[in-house]
């Protein structure tokens, strides 16, 4: 299959002018299209990324490390990791439950659930944060009760965690739903007829089947949890050393004209993004191959591989 695709362009190259595939473009068109894409990519992505790192290291490595190891920076890093460490596992459980039920069962309000999962995508993160302020803030619905019981949510760590969970909850579910739907229930049914219990079927068959999509979802969810700015900003209150996450800290430093420190922290987030992209690329490749391998014409591929 793939070998045929690879061979086709070669054969065109060896017999130069005469034949062009219907979908192939003129060389000039190709150069213009590819050039445009590359130009945009460098202008808006590559140059800024380089700028971040060069700006961060502008005053030397010593200043760089000092800016990311002072107590406030460490606190921001800790808070960001904490928010992610709570949000990601929660979304993992939610994502598995939601995708499983959407892919496997027919139930009333299924469409509603599918639509609501996308809500955080559709709503501006600032609004998401506002919702929590309206709910838990001093003037909010539950505000008086919370104050009476001395529970702090807004302008405190719980609010930041809540906002992060809300903003990131579609990510795992969205990755899993199509994979679960495509992979069908045959293997699960086979496991059940062989005497496996529900949990055994889930952990031995379903989870391994969707593991790449699951990992991919977790990686993306994690990146988003660590990078979230809008919703967290609204509920944070910007108390340095207490309720400031890394993205917020970048903003605080920037507003204080501490550009080098600001870019140093930003470079950490950028690194995270780069690592995520690489991980996504690696996992994405495998996830795409997996269903294909199952459908591939039986004998040939395997014999060679073995």
């Amino acid at each position: 299959m793939s070998s045929a695709e690879v061979r086709a362009p070669n054969s065109i190259a060896s017999t130069p002018v005469h034949f062009r595939r219907a979908t192939a473009e003129r060389p000039l068109t190709r150069v213009i299209l590819i050039g445009t894409a590359l130009l945009f990519l460098s202008l808006f992505l590559i140059i800024p990324v380089i700028a971040v790192f060069s700006e961060a290291l502008a005053k030397g490595v010593g200043v760089y490390f000092a800016s990311i190891t002072n107590p406030e920076a460490l606190s921001a890093i800790r808070l960001t990791l904490l928010a992610a460490a709570i949000a990601v596992p929660l979304n993992l459980v939610f994502g598995l439950a939601a995708s499983w039920s959407i892919a496997r069962f027919e139930f009333p309000c299924k469409n509603l659930l599918t639509t609501l999962i996308d809500l955080p995508f559709a709503v501006s993160p600032v609004i998401s944060g506002m919702i929590y302020v309206l709910m838990f803030g001093a003037q909010g619905l539950l505000g008086p009760w919370l104050i009476a019981h001395n529970i702090h949510i807004i302008f405190a760590v719980p609010g930041i965690v809540l906002a992060t969970v809300f903003v990131t909850f579609p990510y795992v579910a969205r990755e899993l739903i199509p994979v679960m739907e495509a992979s069908g229930t045959d293997e699960e049914e086979a496991a059940i007829t062989l005497g496996a219990s529900g949990w055994q079927t889930f952990f031995r068959i379903t989870v391994p089947k969707v593991k790449w999509a699951l990992l991919y979802g977790v990686v993306i969810c994690n990146a988003r949890a660590m990078g979230e700015f809008g919703a967290v900003s609204v509920v944070s209150g910007h108390i340095l050393g207490l309720t400031v996450t890394m993205p917020l800290y970048v903003e605080v430093l920037y507003n204080d004209y501490q550009f080098t420190a600001s870019f140093a922290v930003a470079s950490l987030l950028t690194l995270l993004a780069l690592v995520t992209l690489i991980a996504k690329r690696l996992l994405g490749g495998d996830a795409a191959e997996l269903p294909l391998a199952a459908e591939a014409p039986p004998v040939t591929a395997g014999r060679e591989a073995a």
């Binding site: 045959d186 496991a191 007829t193 062989l194 089947k209 039986p298 591929a301 073995a306």
Partner: protein, 357 residues
């Protein structure tokens, strides 16, 4: 183990998949559920396996009610149409799965699992494949792994859903014969679903023909082929030509021409003035070059296919209906017919199927 279903009913929305099905399958039989797609055969199999719940009716295993037993408690071996092998496990682990998921107390020791799996892989002639993954096997090999996996838990019934459906013709025939032999060896009650009449007649010792969620007929392959109960069965079990006629004074007339024959046990002597449909299998029609006897229908040869054990001739009757005839090569040479030849058709034996409307 014997299986009995009583008054099964199953609907999917407004679609009636099974409509009051009752059926008994004695121990050790190899039963084929035969029918076109949408006839309910797979649904029936899945209900027996416990993968689907009936809306009404009962399933009995060995005269014990099993309707409410879960699929994992029923001890059935189920082989899926697309094999449903666990793609992330090796062939060995696939076959071992049913033993490994047993509760600790019932789980055999590792050495025993190992020898059991090896024994099964040997049975399906795939001893070499234990370390491979399912994607590295051909369709026929995967099917045999699926079978070994189902047999590993020592099921009391083996259920196979279109077991050869996704295989090419040659492998299919091989596997069919192999399944037949396996059944003769193991004597495990087996039910398989198929839409291929040839497969059902060749492999099974009992065939149940389903249509629109109802049982049309159940019996041995011979019974079904020679004494079909309904036009559907006659039609489904092989190619057939169909003539519309009338019964007058116990004789059948097709387009005003009498057919002198005594058909399938129908008492026609007292029937008068009724419409009827006459079904004749292609190999029971003969071609003549000139009209002889009373029942000779004029027809024109449209196409001849002599590549095969029989010569297949397609004709068009005088009234524009397509007719198929199968001749042996000797008779074909004798006749020397060619395309566009004008010939006469005659039922060869008095084996026609007549259905009164």
């Amino acid at each position: 183990m014997s299986i009995e279903v009583r008054n099964l009913r199953k609907t999917f929305g407004s679609f009636v998949a099974l409509d009051n099905i009752s059926l008994e399958m004695p121990t050790g039989e190899l039963v084929a559920l035969l029918g076109p797609s949408g006839s309910g055969k797979t649904t029936l199999l899945r209900i027996i396996a416990g993968l689907e719940m009936p809306d009404a009716g009962e399933v009995h295993f060995d005269r014990e009610e099993a309707t409410n037993r879960s699929a994992s408690e029923r001890k059935v071996g189920f082989v899926f149409q697309h094999y449903a092998l666990f793609r992330h496990m090796t062939v060995f682990e696939n076959v071992a799965f049913g033993l490994r998921v047993r509760p600790r107390k019932l789980r055999p020791p590792e050495a025993q699992i190992r020898s059991r799996v090896e024994e099964l892989l040997k049975l399906v002639q795939l001893e070499w494949s234990g370390k491979r993954y399912p994607s590295q096997l051909s369709g026929g090999q995967r099917q045999r792994v699926a079978l070994a996996r189902a047999l590993a838990v020592e099921p009391r019934v083996l259920l196979l859903d279109e077991p050869f459906g996704a295989l090419d013709a040659k492998v299919r025939e091989e596997l069919r014969r192999w399944l037949r032999r396996l059944h003769d060896e193991l004597h495990i009650t087996s039910i398989f679903v198929t839409h291929d009449q040839e497969e059902a007649l060749e492999v099974a010792n009992r065939v149940v023909v389903l249509n629109n969620g109802k049982i049309e007929q159940a019996g041995t392959p011979e019974e079904l082929y020679h004494n079909p109960a309904t036009p559907f069965v006659y039609n489904f079990l092989g190619n057939v030509n169909l003539f519309h006629g009338r019964i007058e004074d116990g004789h059948i007339y097709v387009r005003g021409m009498p057919i002198a024959l005594s058909p399938n046990g129908h008492e026609l002597a007292h029937v008068n003035g009724k419409d009827a449909v006459v079904y004749v299998r292609p190999h029971l029609l003969d071609i003549a070059l000139s009209p002889n006897g009373k029942a000779s229908f004029p027809a024109t040869v449209k196409h001849i296919n002599a590549a095969g054990s029989k010569v297949k001739v397609e004709l068009e009757s005088q009234w524009g209906d397509p007719v198929q005839v199968e001749l042996d090569h000797e008779r074909y040479r004798e006749l020397g017919i060619q395309r566009d030849a004008r010939v006469y058709l005659k039922p060869r034996e008095n084996k026609v199927f007549i259905y009164q409307i």
